[in-house]
Amino acid sequence: MVDWINTVLQGLLLGGLYALFATGLSLSFGIMRLVNIAHGDMIVLAAYLAYAVVTHFGINPFVALLLIVPAMAAWGYVLQRVVLSRSLTGSILTPLMVTLGLSIITQNVLVSVFSADSRAIPAGGVETAAVPLGGGVTLGLYPLIVMATAIGVIVGLQLLLGRTELGRAFRATSDDQETAQLMGIDNRLLYGLAMAIAMGIVGLAGVYLGIRANFDPSAGPSHLIYAFEAVVIGGLGSLWGTLAGGMILGVSQSIGFRLDPGWGILASHLAFLAVLVLKPNGLFPRTRDR
């Protein structure tokens, strides 16, 4: 019994990581209808930036976040204004192709700059610290930090979207881009800001990924799939739904793993398919969405 409680708890915490991966994607899809195939590669890019900063200056990776998150946000803004905005031509296919190209370019640039060696960001012991809960259940300190960060990010975004003028503009553009423009919203600026926020969160996810496990330039796409699934399970545009989606993926994966190691990843994909069949719009779709 204790083993099963442990399994579910570990799965929930894994869900926090998936939610962190997925939040940026959820935001860019929710507001701009932009399917970013390079999302996973951007996470890996952020991890490499953090690796370079941490090893060069010898600082704690959590301090490096102060550099990485703004840098990635700025990169997101430039990327949106210079490249991605030109691809948002109404066809869903154009941004797909553009971001696929971006994904291939990012991987190859990372190989030529950092080589194909796998790296990890040293965090001074926090990655293996344990929090004993008694009764044979031990949780990792680091997964708890990841979960807390994911919840913090989502609360922050909800406040931004629900309570501020910028958030209102985001929601208006998401609901009906043309009408929002008629009301005087500069949607190119707005999209740039949305991408900046999304990439800032990607920066966070990248640093957390780099501390958790090791990564190499080709690691991006395998993270993309969980991010996508978490977004779709949760329902488009719903941030809490994305967290729930991540947790459903994490728990189904660790239960599947417990039954048979071959079923672990299959179980999370099956959970995703089941949600698609039963609730094609996801569990918590925002009705305001088109």
Partner: protein, 430 residues
């Protein structure tokens, strides 16, 4: 649009350069009339290796090895009294077996290579060797355990292959070496297995050919939950099981990201095995560096190390000298594929010397088949292997022990390769 502009200008910069280059070559050819004895045709070696992609870590020594080879063959190679110029054409497999087959056939059909060589995992060596066999081009490969190479290509142990030869160790060596290693220190003799659902994991965990029968015979208890799907983010269920069943020894053939996940989670959830022998994940110094202090006393199989008592027949360097030259030239620690890349060209050039030179593939094929050569990874002799066209090289096991500031891979087990000197004794992790 661009094209129109170009043609409107008449002559482009590129066009002019090309025309100029062509003229220069034509001029050179005209001013040097054919010598009395026609110079020997260049002997072309096609080399396929995963320079980019997930397997690129295997190809890290390629540039160094190619520079060494090009220096050795700069003045040509003497073949039966003639000096034959040698050229190496290097192609990237992009870590993809389809791409490897494509560049191999390109090398054969377009570049007209006389010999194909390839290294680094079945994804490279198998498609390249298949293309060579199909097109009747002599071929030497290495750095894939011989079973996945020979049986993976549908080899028949009675007849073998005609054109293709391979040298490396096999599964039986790694099983023998690991199980002897684990008997060195007192443990619960309970082994936890991390075998992924890939060709390696399935071969290692095979109930007939893999670890299970040998472990049972030697009195080890095996905790094997089955093959997991890689990449995996969560190993909690393994850790819970290993803790519950008193696992003291963890082994597997684990891709580095999976092992990093497992090893952090083992720390978080209080699993403290005495021995961790993880192939793949801890073979490379760069991967070890990524684990930091947590890599200390991990153990792994050793295909070659500076302690191996062999010399290169190509440069005369000992194993230790080769490793040192590599570190001096690149600033990086030695890695195991270095010696195998080196030996691959040793065997290739040795075959060429005993052949009839370029243009006679049958003579080269027979020369390679009759190889009996002392290379930097040990003797290569394709007649002595467990199956035809295969030569086995000695395998030992090592441990990443602290030496000064860093970790160094030292040989701690040599039951399968008694000629390799032991450098230290196995230490428990805790």
């Amino acid at each position: 649009m661009d094209k129109n502009e170009d043609s409107a200008k008449g002559i482009t910069r590129r066009g002019l350069m090309q025309a100029g280059g062509g003229l220069a070559v034509a001029g050179l050819a005209a001013s040097f009339p054919a010598p009395f004895v026609q110079a020997a045709r260049t002997f072309k070696i096609g080399f396929v290796s995963p320079r980019t992609g997930p397997l690129a870590v295997f190809a890290e020594p390629d540039d160094f090895t190619l520079a060494q080879v090009r220096k050795v063959v700069a003045q040509g190679v003497k073949v039966g009294g003639k000096v034959v110029p040698v050229e190496v054409i290097y192609k990237d497999s992009q870590s993809n077996s389809n791409r490897a087959a494509e560049v191999a056939s390109e090398l054969i059909l377009k570049d007209g290579v006389d010999l194909l060589v390839a290294a680094s995992t079945p994804a490279t060596t198998n498609p390249v060797a298949d293309q060579a066999e199909l097109n009747g081009v002599p071929c030497v490969t290495t750095d894939t355990p011989w079973q996945p190479h020979f049986f993976g290509r549908g080899g028949d142990p009675k007849t073998g292959f005609v054109w293709t030869n391979h040298f490396f160790w096999g599964l039986e060596d790694i099983i023998g070496s690991f199980t002897n290693l684990w008997e060195q220190i007192p443990t619960s003799k309970t082994v936890g297995a991390l075998w992924p659902n890939d060709p390696d994991g399935n071969a290692w965990g095979d109930a007939k050919m893999g670890f299970p029968p040998v472990l049972a015979k030697k009195g080890f208890k095996l905790v094997d939950k089955g093959r997991y799907q890689s990449p995996a983010d969560d190993f909690s269920s393994y850790i819970i099981d290993f803790k519950g069943k008193g696992v003291d020894i963890v082994t597997g053939v684990v891709p580095p990201p999976d092992f990093a996940n497992f090893w952090s989670q083992a720390g978080q959830q209080g699993l403290k095995p005495k021995i961790v022998t993880a192939a793949k994940a801890s073979e490379f110094p760069a991967a070890i560096a990524a684990f930091g202090d947590r890599a200390e006393n991990l153990s792994v199989e050793v295909w070659w190390s500076p302690a191996y008592p062999f010399h290169s027949g190509m440069t005369g360097q000992s194993s230790a000298e080769l490793a040192k030259a590599y570190t001096e030239a690149t600033g990086r620690p030695w890695t195991m594929p270095l010696a195998f890349k080196h030996a691959l060209f040793e065997v290739a050039l040795d075959g060429l010397r005993r052949s009839d030179g370029p243009g006679n593939p049958e003579a080269l094929r027979d020369a390679l088949k009759a190889t009996n050569y002392a290379s930097v990874v040990g003797r290569v002799d394709f007649a002595t292997g467990p199956v035809p066209n295969v030569s086995k090289t000695p395998l030992s096991s090592g441990q990443w022990q602290r030496r000064g500031k860093g970790l160094e891979l030292v040989v701690v087990e040599n039951s399968q390769a008694p000629m390799v000197p032991l450098q230290a004794k196995l230490k428990p992790i805790v």
